[in-house]
């Protein structure tokens, strides 16, 4: 059994790694120039190039992947020469990067060709001083300086030659002098809990993502706890009545619901309950992030939609497994031993019949997540699925990558749980 579990865990880790590579390269490499989307089609090539450099997009793809996964502060530290740390800005509550110069958190800034040292005070503000030195001569004989700027980048300035850079502000692109030559946008990396900045919202992805995940977990959790017992019950009921009218009714109905796309089911439910009967809100209106806790009826239609689609699938899997088990020689043995039917079903059949579907059901969780995307879009539910959808439409790559990794992690972890449950249920593996 140890072998089985360790194998599953190793395989899970490799899978996550592969997924992250696939995801990163598909989006970052495949999606073309993000600057077009953000700056619009009328931006000039220099504006684009400058903007891309500020996002670190001029680095090679593999470098960006590593940065994305495990961060780049350790890499930048070697250039800056000081440990890089984060400190919370008391005004915004967000994290900012600083160099730890002998215990003094420090940033730098170039103004009119002058390098200023900004020293962080305890209240979060900073005091500016003229920088005294630290310039180095590079191979080409230019004097350069590596430091941390005020926008959380590790940057390299060149003495006397402040670059012209285009900075995106709320008012649009603005040209600034005194810019650095090279940018390394500092990040801790996904594995260290920092998936980067959302281009859409301009805030760290982690901040915007967490409440969404919570909302989705509530929705999925409620749906799951309704679906599972009901579906298993219906599946077993159909399975032991194979070929009889009850089985036909359950089977065909579940097939019908499973084969109907979520958006069709959702729309029908809206029409029936929201418009014709007017008993439930047709559109979930989320006045606050906590709306679902204040008005649980908002959950009713989304949950019902998910249930309709998933219930049928699980019920059908269970039924198929139950039919197979009821047909097996050991059930025949139990019947020939004169065991009463209920005992045959409960003691002999169910445990074996649940073994096969449990892994498949757990595999199916990612289908459920797929369903969540659609359901959340239909009902405007502020969850993870809607977030992915919006990010995908916008091209907000940091956000999609993070959110997709979360969904994949959920899918893989549930699969792992399914494998473990199977191991525990199946004595052939447990006592191998």
């Amino acid at each position: 059994m140890a072998r089985f579990i360790i194998r599953s865990i190793i395989s899970t880790i490799i899978t996550m790694l592969l997924v992250s590579i696939a995801l990163f390269f598909l989006i970052e490499v495949g999606s073309g120039d993000i600057s077009v989307k953000i700056l619009g089609v009328f931006a000039t090539p220099e504006q684009r190039a400058s903007y891309r450099a500020q996002l670190g997009l001029d680095a090679p793809a593999w470098q960006r992947y590593v940065d994305w996964l495990i961060g780049n502060d350790w890499r930048a530290e070697r250039k800056v020469g000081y440990p890089l740390v984060t400190a919370t800005n008391p005004q915004t509550g967000e994290q900012g990067w600083w160099a730890d110069v002998d215990g003094q958190l420090t940033r730098w800034k170039m103004e009119e060709g002058q390098l200023l040292t900004l020293k962080r005070q305890d209240d979060g503000s900073s005091t500016a001083h003229l920088s005294s030195g630290g310039w180095e001569v590079n191979e080409e004989g230019q004097e350069v300086f590596w430091g941390v700027d005020t926008k959380n980048n590790a940057v390299q300035w060149m003495r006397g030659e402040g670059a012209e850079v285009w900075v995106l502000t709320k008012a649009g692109l603005r040209k600034e002098g005194d810019g650095p030559q090279v940018y390394i946008p500092l990040r801790k990396g996904l594995l260290r809990g920092d998936p980067g900045i959302s281009l859409q919202f301009g805030r760290p992805v982690a901040v915007t993502l967490v409440p969404r995940i919570r909302n989705t977990l509530v929705l999925a959790g409620v749906a799951f706890t309704i679906i599972m017992p009901l579906a298993l019950f219906l599946g077993i009921l159909a399975g032991i009545n194979e070929g009889k009218p009850l089985d036909r009714i359950i089977s065909i109905t579940s097939l019908g619901f499973t084969a109907t796309p979520e958006f069709v089911t959702g729309i029908f439910l809206i029409i029936i309950f929201g418009i014709w009967l007017k008993v439930l809100p047709a559109v979930a209106i989320f006045t606050s992030p906590n709306a679902i806790f204040e008005d649980p009826t908002l959950l009713a239609l989304p949950v019902l939609t998910l249930t309709a689609v998933e219930l049928g699938y699980v019920a059908r899997m269970t039924r198929a497994s139950m039919v197979e088990v009821m047909d097996s020689p050991y059930i025949r043995t139990a019947i020939i031993k004169g065991m009463p039917k209920w005992r045959v079903v409960t003691k002999h059949a169910i445990r074996n019949a649940l073994m096969a579907p449990i892994t498949i059901i757990m595999l199916h969780v990612n289908w459920l997540i797929g369903g969540l995307v659609v359901v959340e879009v239909i009902f405007g539910y502020p969850g993870l699925g809607y977030y992915i959808y919006r990010s995908a439409i916008f091209g907000d790559y940091n956000a999609i990558e993070a959110a997709a990794m979360v969904t994949v992690a959920i899918a893989i972890l549930t699969r792992l749980i399914g494998d473990l449950a199977y191991t525990l249920l199946n004595p052939r593996i447990r006592y191998a």
Partner: protein
């Protein structure tokens, strides 16, 4: 029947017909079956596959599935009519008064329930016994069936014990409520011969002690001869003959029974001095049975009356029941085979001919992965399954080497290694002078075509997607042995020599019977005219009448092409009949090798002796020495030290110190005669002094 009947029979079947509803009608799978079983009696039901013997068993317990039912007749159990009994009443009978044991015990036991729970529920449900008491009774019963460590077995799951032990558990469960009737459907078919022998002993013993009526269903004529007191022979859904076991085996009156007995080789008979006579034709399918005698189309004595009138089961003066119009007129002694089934006449093969295959100290080890944490991480010590250890033999051209041994003895691995499906771990193997220790991909095509194989399972030997012709033609195209234009003609020629007509060319495998598929498999192997054919249990999945035909066919081929063969089987009679040399394998090691006749008479290797003593022989007059092996076959991972057989050897105590040397030292090869070698510590003189295992009772 002159005997005074004291008690009414436990089970009486009268004129039972069982039908299955299918689309657009129904099929009578079983017709006119009548027999009775008394207390303390084992009634054998014997017949080839598809003759309806299991259907009768299922009908008794009323478990025919949704579409089957007893159409006519009555089934009485202790005077109570069973036909039509359903629901609670039926449930009370099942598992309490009537118990059942059937084939594959692994399948019959619930894989996810502890054995103790599966057993004790019979007592708690039927007898309302307390769990504690029930468990104690189960342990008692397990000990009664000689289950080692019974209390511990109660807590185990089915996959944790061996096949023979599983069957003991199933039998013990069946006996828990001391049933009046025990139905056994092929209970030993899935077991190895030495395990089978022990289980059969157990069944005989339990019948005496419990005074149970046993209905014993099997296809194996040898097994039925060993366990039964009376025997019914079934053919195509009818019982054609019924009598005491002696009557059936010594003086069968129905032509079918006579034919069956002519199909099986007697243990000790060989291809030179004896012949097998297959039964022509095939069993008619249930929806297409003749109106007259169902055996008519295959019968040598068929007359007009047989074609028009279905014979009734009638009793002859000697008490035998037979379903034949002319039973009294038939004298099996005067029977001569007709042209179409005449077996080939085979000469003695020359064991001194030039060897075509020489194998020297061949080893095949498989690496196994451990289950410990360190094994998964690759830190554990490497362990090996020693599937074949130091195999050495030579096969002279045109002769057959038979390899026998129980499952897991390495016989299949040996030929897989020879043909190149597995590569050799160590040792030497030369075929036609070429080294063949590498995998098949490293061999020259001209070498590949000289070394071909015939497989075991007729249902999987042919690719279901291609016609017979395409499959036989493929090797010809691949090896370019025949010009393209002539391939079809050549295939048909080959089909003809397999006694299959040209019309088989375009047939698909699903349109063929098992025997026909096996013939096509042989034709495919022969298509490239190989010098050496490796036969992996080519007849063990076939019914005896078909088996005889295939054996004859192989002999004919050998006679015609001087083909050399390696013949693997677990049936010792068949191997003896077919082979010139025999090798006996145990746990990867050849224990004894020599000319076929030498293996079957002393001096024996103790393992060969045990095997011979275990073989069920289809002749109740034969006396066999009673030697049973204890325990089960050890794992091939880290096999026993010294002699691999030492853990179970019944003869070890003949050596000083109870055979300590067998534990510590590898045995020497003892040359008993020219080419007859025995791998044993016991001196030849002692081995020679053993009595023969088999002796004929003088009748």
């Amino acid at each position: 029947m002159s005997e005074l009947v004291k008690a009414p029979p436990v089970l009486t079947l009268e004129d039972v017909a069982i039908a299955y509803k299918i689309r657009g009608g129904e099929i009578e799978a079983v017709q006119n079956v009548s027999f009775e079983i008394n207390r303390g009696e084992t009634h054998g039901i014997v017949g080839e596959s598809g003759c309806g013997k299991s259907t009768v068993a299922w009908a008794i317990v009323n478990f025919l599935g949704a579409n089957g039912y007893v159409k006519r007749g009555s089934i009485k159990f202790q005077g109570q009519e069973l036909v039509g009994v359903t629901g609670e009443e039926l449930r009370r009978l099942r598992g309490d008064q009537i118990a059942m044991v059937y084939q594959d015990p692994m399948q019959a036991l619930n894989p996810s329930m502890r054995l103790g729970d599966q057993m004790s529920e019979v007592l708690t449900v039927h007898r309302g016994m307390e769990q504690k008491e029930a468990e104690a009774r189960c342990i008692e019963m397990l000990e009664r069936v000689y289950m080692p460590d019974a209390a511990n077995v109660m807590r185990r799951y089915p996959h944790q014990i061996s096949g023979g032990q599983q069957q003991r558990v199933v039998i013990a469960t069946a006996l828990l409520n001391n049933p009046a009737l025990l139905i056994m459907d092929e209970p030993t078919t899935a077991l190895d011969v030495t395990v089978e022998a022990a289980v059969l002993d157990l069944i005989a013993e339990l019948r005496r002690d419990f005074d149970t009526a046993i209905m014993y269903i099997t296809h194996n004529l040898g097994v039925v001869a060993r366990v039964s007191t009376r025997v019914g022979v079934m053919y195509a859904g009818e019982m054609v003959e019924r009598g005491t076991v002696e009557q059936i085996y010594e003086a069968p009156q129905h032509p079918y029974t006579q034919g069956l007995l002519r199909c099986v080789p007697k243990l000790g008979s060989d291809k030179v001095s004896s012949m097998l006579y297959p039964i022509r034709g095939r069993v008619p399918p249930p929806n297409n049975r003749p109106t007259g005698c169902i055996y008519g189309p295959r019968c040598d004595y068929v007359q007009d009356r047989c074609r028009n009138e279905r014979p009734k089961l009638r009793q002859l003066p000697n008490g035998l029941w037979v379903r034949c119009h002319f039973a009294e007129d038939i004298n099996p002694g005067e029977w001569t085979p007709s042209e179409d089934i005449a077996p080939p006449v085979v000469g003695i093969r020359d064991l001194n001919a030039e060897p075509i295959l020489k194998v020297n100290n061949l080893k095949k080890y498989y690496e196994v992965k451990g289950t410990q944490l360190k094994d998964v991480l690759g830190l554990g010590e490497k362990r090996y399954v020693k599937a074949v250890e130091d195999a050495s033999f030579k096969i002279p051209e045109g002769t057959t080497l038979g390899v026998v041994g129980e499952s897991g003895c390495g016989k299949s691995t040996l030929i897989k290694t020879l043909i190149g499906l597995e590569d050799t771990t160590e040792g030497e193997a030369r075929f036609l002078g070429f080294d063949i220790t590498g995998p098949i991909s490293e061999r020259d095509q001209s070498l590949i075509q000289e070394l071909q194989m015939v497989f075991q399972n007729p249902d999987s030997t042919m690719n279901p997607s291609y016609t017979v012709g395409q499959q036989i033609a493929r090797p010809m195209q691949l090896f370019r042995t025949v010009p393209k234009a002539e391939i079809r003609a050549e295939v048909i020629k080959l089909l003809n020599s397999m006694r299959l007509g040209a019309n088989y060319y375009d047939r698909l495998p699903r349109q063929l019977s098992g025997g026909e598929k096996q013939r096509v498999g042989i034709a495919r192997a022969l298509a490239s005219h190989p010098d050496l054919v490796l036969c992996d249990e080519p007849v063990s999945a076939l019914d005896v009448s078909v088996q005889a035909a295939i054996l004859n066919l192989l002999l004919e081929i050998q006679q015609e092409f001087n083909t050399t063969m390696v013949f693997i089987a677990h049936d010792l009679s068949v191997v003896r009949f077919f082979s010139d040399q025999v090798a006996v394998m145990y746990l990867g090691q050849i224990m004894e090798i020599g000319p076929a006749e030498a293996i079957y008479t002393p001096p024996y290797h103790p393992y060969s002796e045990a095997l011979l003593s275990a073989v069920p022989i289809p002749d109740p007059t034969v006396q066999q020495k009673h030697i049973r092996l204890e325990g089960s076959v050890p794992s091939a991972i880290d096999p026993p030290s010294g002699c691999r057989f030492h853990t179970r050897c019944p003869r070890r105590k003949l050596l000083p110190d109870d055979g300590q040397i067998c534990v510590t030292d590898t045995p020497p090869w003892r040359e008993a005669a020219d080419g007859h070698r025995i791998f044993c510590h016991i001196p030849l003189e002692t081995l020679r002094s053993f009595d023969p295992v088999i002796s004929q009772e003088v009748s």
